[in-house]
């Protein structure tokens, strides 16, 4: 009976636990493999499959490898039960990478599920498919994501956005553009949930492609409060980056004030005292007072590379922002709207959102508005310990940069005993940096409480904080020192009982604080020093003793009493030398030596003490002490000799030298005990790097102010100077702020070159004077180079900036560019003409006006176009989207009598490249080089309708990938599809690269041999020109100019080049054009490799000329193609 009863009791208790756990999956977890799983998986009942899968999941959770069930599990993807599906997906994601081949079996089911009417099924299928991470299926996933991005269900679109980073992680370059395109599309979604996920995708896929943001910046700002919290965090960061990249920093913000009013700042907020320590211990030589804030803002912008280079050269000037990189927060709408839409987020329930919004305000908001972030930030402190630490880390930087912000809220930083040590330490540091004269008394009261805290490490930190406060607020120094002195005495009571390092630490910190306070104003603390010295007997902690002894040496000549005490003190030290710790021994030696150096009386006593110590120390067990004493003995003996020789005369230089040596020794000694917790590197608020204080993977500083357009049309970072000058402009549509920091450099660069060139030009002018007077030698050439070319070009480009934005006709942009050029070339020419014939002038402006890109027909109205005539010409504009794209102007004309509607031009295989500006510059050059070579077309905006005889003009951005074959396009109009062919022109695969003759020749000389290709051809265009002008009574000289003009015109209208210089022969025979040389420069769009073209003319002016064309280019194939192209079009007669 009894055993039975026992058994029942046992089962009863078991049963009760069973009842408690009923309905849970506990039994599955406890014994996952008590039944055989395989048959269950093959069962036809969903519930059994489910159970099997749960068992597998339990095994996975317990760390057992069950990948051998993979094939059976994969089969079940086809199940209709959602729970089975979900469990299979969990399993699949866990093992897919391990069993890639079997995973492929599931793809068909995913494809099928993607077409399921249930959005949940579609979303899950997409999520799992993208999560499998197999390179093979990446193209399929891409298609699926593209499809889901157009899904009617918000949830599916959101999952599509989430799938993009997974695809991106596979690092398949050929998909990069398509992924970015989808990101752009999803960012444009009307549902906030999708936008949030798309923002996260953007941040991980293409954070540099800020032009995507430009298109719907306003919309994103407006939608921001409705986006779900996690998306908000990503989106806030993106919007901040965009505003800085496109408009620059805000003038009224803290970032600006720090740049400009450095000196006033150092006076104003007195934070210099705070960093007094830093000041003396860094080699930057007293430059760190106002530096803090300045440094913070600079660190936000510069990347690690720049930071390293700057600190290694200690060159503060390397990074300076100019006025143009700032915009006014009051007038700039984009800035205002960002601040307006982020300010309610400061009330968010999600602390990460609050911190991100606060970060935006910190960087962008006008200084008077920054204070609104304070309360929300402080409110964050009432959350978990972990987030408290993160928030405090950020507040710490804010508080150091602008102590006045947090000063009224010092009570919030008072410490609770339940907080972790790290939080306490941070709070102490913040308190000591925001203390003001009014708050310091209550802060000190708190500190006094903290000193009695059982956590002794924290108490020691408190003492250090007191020292910092006293340094910051010199008024309080006396009170602090008194308190600290009392503390040192109080601690004596406990010192003997040896609570180990902690109490010692407190004493050391107390002395250290006293020491640093004294250092600020030694004379007024004379008594303190004396008191400390007197307490030497009772202070036993070596580090503390060493510091007091150091003070004896340091202030041995201070005041009246200390010098008189020295004798006794040194004797005492010598007496207890043998029983001291190593640290103290070394310090005693130093001090005695130092006293001896500075002593004026009692020298012989000191010497005796010194030699006594030397004897002791030379026999010391520790070799450090022995080494030190040998060194000091040597030093001292030379000193003694000198004193002996010139006693009384006080040889100053000699003494100084010794002082210096002594101080060197001491400096090294003191630094050892100093706790230097100041880091020079700051990271963006809220970032992980700011917490760990080094650049965490994935950390990106803020973009360079006003760099957006630069990035857009050119290579991202680290461009060479010249490229920068081409693209450096910041013509923002509304505000017209322009040029950036490097502009100044480069401009000045060019200025100097300008003057050099000018002087050399005038020199040559002189030469030519001589030569023209009698020298028949044709060799010395007059250079008609446009000196100001480069800088003028900048203007030209910046004028064409708006043109990129579609506000100006490209023709006019080109004209203005050429006009500028000619204008600048005028002085040079007129200079010459003074020498030669006064009225001769090359007016390339005429050329500029006549430069007319050749028009090709895309669609003939008569044959196939149903009355639509489409012509195109290559534009010299540089695409605003990417430097890889060639701009083509397309002219539509309705030649029929009916309205034609819905005209659009797309790539023939249109699954690529659907959305326009999505493909902006990829950051990675190599990725571009390796990406697939199919020409891509950025579709133009369609023309809604075209009335009869109406014309429309569109700019087409095409990426040719150097394909010279015609590009097949499809033209849709009136719903019909017409195939058309676009013939690429290699002459527009380049863009002008302004440079001056010297650079040109230098580069040319570096591209000899196999990089140089020549060809010759005939040129006749000028003859017509000359005949025309014969009617006018022009000088003979003009023949040259006419030739130059027509040649330049021809070339510039057929290729996108930059005219560098024209060399003219100074020959007796005015009809002989031989020796005329034109130089053009350009760079290849895709690779930015320079391409130099030289054309030399031979023959008589009035006859067909023989041109020899030379191309210097690293890229052989491209160079040859370009050469052929130039030769071809030069031969072609000009039309109309």
């Amino acid at each position: 009976m009894f055993p039975q009863f026992g058994a029942t009791a046992d089962t009863l208790s078991k049963a009760s636990t069973m009842v408690f756990r009923i309905g849970t999956d506990a039994h599955l977890y406890d014994d996952p493999d008590d039944v055989s799983i395989a048959p269950l998986l093959d069962s036809k009942f969903d519930s059994e499959k489910c159970e099997a899968l749960k068992r597998l999941l339990a095994l996975i959770a317990q760390g057992i490898d069950v990948s051998n069930y993979f094939p059976q599990v994969v089969k079940n993807v086809a199940s209709q039960s959602l729970e089975v599906k979900k469990l299979v997906y969990l399993y699949l994601l866990h093992y897919a990478e391990k069993r890639p081949n079997e995973a492929l079996l599931s793809i068909n089911y995913f494809q099928k599920d993607l077409g399921d009417p249930n959005p949940l099924v579609r979303a899950w299928a997409l999520r799992t498919m993208a999560g499998i991470r197999l390179h093979v299926i990446a193209p399929l996933v891409l298609v699926a994501v593209g499809k889901c991005a157009r899904d009617p269900s918000v949830y599916v679109r959101k999952c599509a956005a989430n799938a993009l980073p997974k695809l991106h992680d596979l690092r398949q370059e050929e998909h990069a553009l398509a992924i970015e395109e989808i990101v752009g599309k999803l960012l444009n979604d009307h549902s906030p949930a999708v936008v949030g996920a798309a923002a996260a995708a953007f941040a991980s896929v293409c954070p540099y492609n800020l032009s995507l943001i430009r298109r719907n910046y306003r919309k994103l700002c407006e939608i921001l409060p409705d986006v779900e919290e996690w998306g908000q965090i990503a989106l806030i960061g993106i919007l901040l980056r965009y505003v800085i990249a496109s408009h620059g920093l805000v003038k009224e913000s803290i970032m600006f004030s720090l740049q400009c009013t450095e000196s006033s700042h150092s006076v104003k907020d007195g934070s210099d005292a705070d960093f007094g320590q830093v000041k003396e211990s860094t080699d930057m030589g007293g430059t760190c007072d106002y530096e803090f804030v300045n440094m913070v803002s600079r660190c936000y912008i510069e990347g690690p590379d720049e930071y390293l280079s700057r600190s290694s050269y200690a060159n503060r000037e390397s990074f300076q922002l100019t006025d143009e990189q700032f915009t006014s927060g009051k007038s700039n709408d984009d800035v205002k709207i960002l601040l307006y839409s982020t300010s309610p987020l400061l009330w968010s329930n999600n602390s990460a959102v609050v911190l991100a919004a606060a970060g935006v305000h910190w960087v962008m908001a006008p200084k008077e508005d920054v204070k609104r972030i304070i309360k929300p930030l402080l409110f964050l402190l009432r959350s978990s310990n972990a987030s408290k630490y993160v928030v405090l880390c950020n507040i710490q930087v804010f508080a150091k940069a602008m102590p006045s912000l947090f000063a009224p809220y010092y009570e919030d930083f008072f410490i609770c005993s339940s907080e972790s040590y790290q939080v306490k330490a941070l709070k102490l540091e913040i308190l000591s940096s925001i203390a003001t004269d009014s708050s310091i008394s209550s802060i000190f009261k708190e500190f006094q409480d903290y000193i009695r805290d059982p956590d002794r490490r924290f108490a020691a930190d408190t003492i250090a904080a007191i020292g910092l406060c006293a340094q910051r607020l010199p008024k309080m120094a006396h009170i602090c020192v008194d308190g600290l002195l009392a503390l040192t005495r109080e601690e004596f009571v406990t010192k003997d009982f040896g609570f180990g390092d902690q109490e010692a630490g407190i004493l050391t910190h107390a002395i250290l604080s006293i020491k640093s306070i004294i250092k600020q104003d030694p004379p007024s603390h004379e008594k303190v020093i004396i008191q400390l010295v007197r307490s030497l007997d009772s202070i036993k902690v070596p580090a503390a003793r060493a510091m007091i002894i150091w003070m004896v040496g340091e202030y041995s000549t201070l005041g009246e009493i200390i010098p008189r005490m020295l004798n006794t003190v040194l004797k005492y030290l010598a007496w207890c030398f043998t029983s001291e710790a190593l640290e103290t021994k070394l310090q005693i030696l130093n001090t005695v030596c130092k006293v001896l150096v500075g002593a004026t009386e009692d020298v012989w006593t000191f010497k005796k003490i010194f030699s006594y110590l030397v004897e002791l120390a030379e026999c010391d067990l520790n070799y450090d002490v022995r080494d030190r004493v040998r060194f000091l003995k040597k030093l001292q003996s030379s000193n003694l000799v000198s004193i002996g020789q010139e006693e009384g005369t006080n040889d100053l230089p000699e003494k100084d030298l010794l002082h210096v040596v002594a101080e060197c020794i001491l400096g090294r000694q003191t630094r050892k005990v100093k706790a230097e917790s100041f880091s020079y590197r700051f990271y963006l608020p809220g970032s992980l790097s700011q917490i760990v204080l080094h650049a965490a993977p994935g950390y990106e500083p803020l973009p360079k102010p006003c760099s957006l357009l630069l990035d857009d049309r050119n290579v991202p970072e680290g461009t060479s100077e010249i490229k920068k000058t081409v693209a450096d402009y910041s013509g923002t549509d509304d505000y017209g702020t322009s040029s950036e920091g490097s502009d100044d450099e480069s401009a000045s660069d060019y200025d100097s070159q300008h003057s050099v060139a000018e002087s050399s030009g005038s020199g040559r002018g002189d030469d030519s004077e001589f030569t023209s007077e009698g020298n028949d030698n044709a060799d010395p050439l007059i250079q008609i180079s446009d000196f100001g070319n480069a800088s003028e070009n900048q203007n030209g480009v910046s004028q064409s900036g708006p043109a990129n934005l579609g506000e100006l006709m490209s023709d006019r942009a080109l004209e203005s560019w050429l006009d500028e050029q000619s204008g600048s070339s005028n002085p040079g020419i007129s200079e010459q003409s003074q020498v030669r014939i006064s009225s001769a002038r090359i007016s390339l402006g005429d050329v500029g006006k006549r430069v007319k890109p050749k028009c090709y027909s895309l669609l003939d109205p008569a044959t196939s176009g149903n009355g639509l005539k489409v012509d195109y010409s290559f534009s010299s504009e540089i695409s605003s989207m990417s430097h890889l794209l060639v701009c083509i102007e397309v002219f539509f004309k309705n030649c029929s009598s009916e309205t034609i509607s819905e005209i659009t031009l797309v790539d023939e295989d249109s699954n690529r490249a659907l959305d326009a500006a999505d493909k902006a510059a990829d950051v990675n050059q190599s990725s571009l080089a390796s990406s697939d070579n199919v020409p891509t077309l950025v579709p133009m905006e369609s023309i809604a309708s075209l009335e009869p005889d109406q014309t429309a003009r569109r700019i087409l951005h095409v990426r040719f990938h150097h394909h010279l074959l015609p590009l097949k396009l499809a033209l849709y109009c009136d719903g019909k599809k017409l195939p058309v062919k676009l013939r690429p022109d290699i002459g527009y695969f380049v863009k002008p690269l302004p440079m001056d003759v010297e650079v040109f020749i230098d580069r040319e000389s570096r591209l000899p041999g196999m990089f140089e290709y020549t060809r010759s051809c005939a040129f006749t265009d000028h003859i017509e020109e000359l005949n025309k002008e014969n009617g006018d009574s022009l000088f003979v000289k003009d023949k040259f100019l006419a030739i130059c003009e027509s040649l330049a015109l021809k070339i510039l209208s057929n290729a996108n080049l930059c005219l560098v210089s024209i060399d003219m022969p100074v020959a007796a025979n005015l009809d002989d054009a031989s020796g005329l040389r034109l130089r053009f420069s350009s760079e290849i769009l895709s690779s930015s490799i320079p391409c130099l073209i030289t054309i030399t003319v031979e023959g008589k002016c009035s006859d067909p000329l023989n041109l020899s064309i030379k191309v210097n280019c690293e890229e052989t194939v491209f160079g040859l193609n370009l050469l052929n192209r130039i030769a071809n079009f030069l031969v072609e007669p000009t039309l109309g």
């Binding site: 309905g23 999956d25 959101k158 009330w347 009570e411 992980l688």
Partner: protein, 341 residues
């Protein structure tokens, strides 16, 4: 990823899990591992939070409640994964489950406050502030649009809102206008700073001499709110230099735990006497006097009063259903209430 985002997300996961499982510990997670897996899979996708709104998660994955447990036992069908996508995922108010129906329309608003205070060694009140939450439990049909206003919103020092709260009405009129999630949620949290007094006082006295330390702590009510103060507790950590302690009290019980934590639970303060804790601590040998002092952490609870003085003015429902039951409550607890000795 910003570190706070990670921390915040983990907090959210722990909230959701403990909400689902009624607690969060190893056993509970093991017992419900499938649900945990499913939830995590729904909450995070490729390292980025996907669906964190508890209401939607509830619709996607049914929590293991008694009904479903019984049902699963009876029917043998244990599916807890919903077949359909919750409608709210697509709506612009993702926190609200689509169209719940209730026979009785009820809204309960609770003010739950925590008082943080620091009293320094001199007995002076260094810091006293209240951290409060407005917790709403709503069972309303359809798509209710509520407005809640306070009688004295100006005392609020700082606020944080649930995403459902519209920012602009608050900015202009300090009115909370929102479409509530279904069930219980935290509508807003607020802070009221610089309060002048605490409901109770704690007066510790420690005097040490000759290796012994005498402790005497008095606790009493400072000013009467008319409400009883419940579950008063006092906790402190004995300094490491104390060898043994002998503490007794005239009311309540005193426990000294293994990690030298001493806790004194008083409960309600009796009318006839002032609770006091007294006794001696023996210091480590050779130590004459105590040089570090413990901090006393006080706990209490007052029902029916919000110590910050915040008062709810009115709660209105725009699209008024026939009958709406509104309930208001208040509660104040001790938060970081510290008394230094």
């Amino acid at each position: 990823m910003p570190p706070l985002m990670g921390i915040e997300f983990l907090c959210r996961v722990s909230d959701v899990l403990s909400d689902y499982l009624g607690g969060l510990n190893e056993d509970v997670i093991k017992d419900n591992f499938v649900i945990v897996y499913e939830l995590l899979d729904e909450m995070i996708d490729n390292g980025f939070p996907l669906t964190t709104e508890p209401n939607i998660l509830r619709e996607m994955i049914a929590p293991p409640n008694i009904v479903s447990k019984v049902l699963s036992v009876v029917t043998g069908n244990s599916s807890n994964v919903s077949d359909t996508l919750p409608g709210a995922t697509g709506s612009c108010i993702p926190w609200r489950a689509a169209d719940p129906k209730y026979a009785n329309n009820e809204v309960y608003v609770d003010l739950v406050e925590e008082m943080d205070a620091v009293i320094n060694r001199d007995g002076a009140l260094v810091k006293c502030e209240v951290y409060g939450e407005v917790r709403v439990n709503s069972h309303l049909s359809g798509l209710p649009d509520l407005t809640l206003s306070f009688a004295n919103p100006s005392i609020l020092d700082d606020v944080r809102f649930h995403p459902c709260v519209r920012f602009r009405p608050w900015e202009s009129h300090q009115i909370l206008s929102f479409v509530p999630p279904d069930g219980e949620f935290k509508l807003m949290s607020y802070r009221v700073k610089k309060l002048k007094s605490t409901p109770i006082y704690v007066k510790p006295q420690l005097s040490s001499d000759a290796g012994k330390c005498r402790v005497n702590v008095l606790v009493g009510i400072r000013n009467d709110h008319g409400k009883t103060i419940d579950s008063i507790t006092l906790q402190f950590q004995l300094p490491p230099c104390i060898l043994s302690a002998d503490l007794t009290s005239n009311t309540g019980t005193v426990n000294i735990l293994g990690n030298k934590t001493c806790s004194w639970s008083i409960g309600r303060i009796p009318k006839d006497k002032t609770p006091s804790l007294s006794g001696t601590l023996v210091l480590e040998s050779e130590l004459e006097r105590l040089h570090v002092f413990p901090t006393f952490r006080v706990g209490f609870k007052i029902m029916g009063v919000a110590l910050s003085g915040l008062q709810i003015d009115k709660l209105d429902l725009k699209t008024a259903p026939s009958r709406l039951y509104k309930g208001f409550r208040a509660l104040t607890r001790a938060g970081e209430f510290e008394v230094r000795s």
